[in-house]
């Protein structure tokens, strides 16, 4: 069950990243967002904004500091959705 939720969230992260970056990307749980996706701070914030709309949840920027991988981001989204 958890795996399925995470897979779905990762799919959405990939979709948001493609939309913001305008290029194809592959995202797994272990994908390092800054290094593997070559995403700068602004692009990351814009990806997060897309995800906020996709999941109808606010993802505060201050919660992004410890996020390094797509798996970290998926876990954060899941946590925020459960809180909402």
């Amino acid at each position: 069950m958890t795996v399925n939720v995470t897979d779905f969230t990762l799919t959405e992260i990939a979709r948001a990243a493609r939309s913001v970056l305008g290029r194809p990307v592959t995202v797994t749980s272990a994908t390092d967002i800054a290094r593997d996706l070559n995403v700068d701070s602004l692009a990351l914030m814009n990806i997060v904004m897309e995800l906020e709309d996709a999941f109808d949840v606010s993802i505060p920027l201050d919660r992004l500091a410890p996020v390094q991988t797509a798996g970290d981001l998926a876990a954060l989204i899941t946590e925020l959705r459960e809180r909402a």
């Binding site: 700068d40 701070s41 602004l42 814009n46 906020e52 606010s58 505060p60 920027l61 201050d62």
Partner: protein, 404 residues
């Protein structure tokens, strides 16, 4: 491994820029000939990227009052406002700013950057919500990081998106502070402040407007965008700077908020830095008087901005959505932006090159800021240079369309 290794990613990009023969981030003027003209080596250059909206940096009265203050009070305060660094002039400037904006309280900071750091980090704390326009200035983002509030961005200049994000917070405890800017520093667009104020009223929040680029520029009395669109009563805090229309350096916040003075003992960027030097406070106090008394300066500024904006659009350059004293030309890619920037400088025009991620939409910008004291001939010379360099680079088709 060196400590700076983590910034290596910037090395290649920076080296590539410098390999083009110039360093846009390390420009040096050898002489300032006027607020709008400088000398770089043997070349005279029109300065079109200085945020010197009213051209008051060489205003004789501002210069004279600054010199007098330095002679009377010395070159610096060498201390914090909460120690030895409060002089009569600081209190006078605070009273003058409060009066100018029609507010009960005003507080000076040593820079505009520190004003945002000091105000945002102190107004909201853990459990509160800071709601920022996505295109906010770096000082707003950094102020958000210095505090402990939850930070949420809404889509740039989109009151519906702000509404949606505030709605998501319904039932969540904590204060909400919305932060927007009068004029955005990169594209020169203004905030839809009337609509944002309406969202604030409907959903309940506090509103802070950074009028750094709009003070002395917009509004009948030069108070900025809130004055222009008639929503000053909805704005709880105004942050501004003395480094643009006031022609020196410094930041401030004005407000009617009860207990505003508590900020003086809790705002770390206010407390733990030396206060503004006497010469700066003196010149900006005089400059504020010029803004109050000389509405013609704003009219000239608006005319110059329109002349540049219309001229660039007529040539086919893509500018921001509305004519304000910040006129930005969007370029397709960093290489053409750099070539254009270099060409303009060689043709005697200095403006700012802004590269992503400091720009919206990841596009490089050639950013101009017009001054009231640019002459129409200088604006036309700038347009001629844009046409010539843009034509030579194949960016615009008909350079001869520009008329002087």
């Amino acid at each position: 491994m060196g400590l700076l290794d983590r910034h290596r990613g910037y090395r290649d990009a920076y080296d590539a820029i410098r390999a083009s023969g110039a360093d846009p981030f390390n420009v040096r003027f050898d002489e300032m000939l006027s607020p709008t003209e400088g000398r770089m080596g043997a070349r005279r250059v029109i300065i079109l990227g200085a945020n010197n909206y009213l051209g008051l940096t060489f205003d004789p009265a501002c210069v004279e009052d600054s010199v007098k203050a330095v002679r009377a009070w010395g070159t610096g305060t060498t201390g914090s406002r909460i120690a030895n660094g409060s002089l009569d002039a600081h209190l006078k400037m605070e009273q003058a700013l409060a009066r100018f904006f029609g507010r009960r309280h005003a507080m000076l900071f040593t820079t505009g950057y520190q004003a945002n750091l000091g105000v945002l980090s102190a107004l909201v704390g853990r459990g509160d919500h800071l709601i920022l326009d996505a295109d906010s200035h770096a000082s707003i983002y950094d102020g958000a990081r210095l505090g402990h509030a939850e930070v949420i961005r809404f889509r740039h200049n989109d009151p519906d998106d702000l509404y949606k994000r505030l709605r998501r917070l319904e039932g969540v405890p904590g204060e909400r502070l919305i932060v927007v800017e009068g004029i955005y520093s990169m594209l020169g667009d203004t905030a839809p402040l009337k609509e944002i104020a309406a969202v604030k009223r409907e959903l309940g929040a506090h509103l802070l407007v950074d009028e750094a680029h709009s003070m002395g520029v917009l509004g009948d009395r030069g108070r900025g965008l809130a004055e222009l669109v008639g929503v000053e009563a909805d704005v709880d805090f105004i942050v501004g700077t003395m480094s643009k229309s006031l022609g020196a350096i410094g930041g401030f916040c004005v407000s009617d908020a009860e207990d505003f003075d508590l900020l003086r003992v809790v705002s770390r960027p206010y407390m733990f830095t030396a206060s503004l030097p006497p010469g700066v406070v003196a010149s900006t106090l005089t400059a504020l008087g010029r803004i109050e008394q000389d509405a013609a300066l704003r009219a000239k500024l608006a005319a110059n901005a329109m002349r540049l904006y219309d001229g660039l659009n007529a040539m086919g350059f893509e500018t921001g959505p509305q004519p304000t004293p910040i006129v930005a030309v969007a370029m397709a890619d960093p290489a053409s932006a750099l070539a254009m920037w270099n060409g303009l400088l060689e043709a005697g025009v200095y403006l700012n090159l802004a590269l992503p991620p400091a720009t919206p939409d990841s596009r490089p910008l050639l950013r101009s800021s017009v001054s009231a004291v640019h002459t129409p001939e200088q604006i036309d010379a700038v347009l001629f240079a844009f046409a010539a360099v843009g034509g030579a680079l194949g960016l615009v088709r008909t350079p001869q369309r520009v008329s002087a």
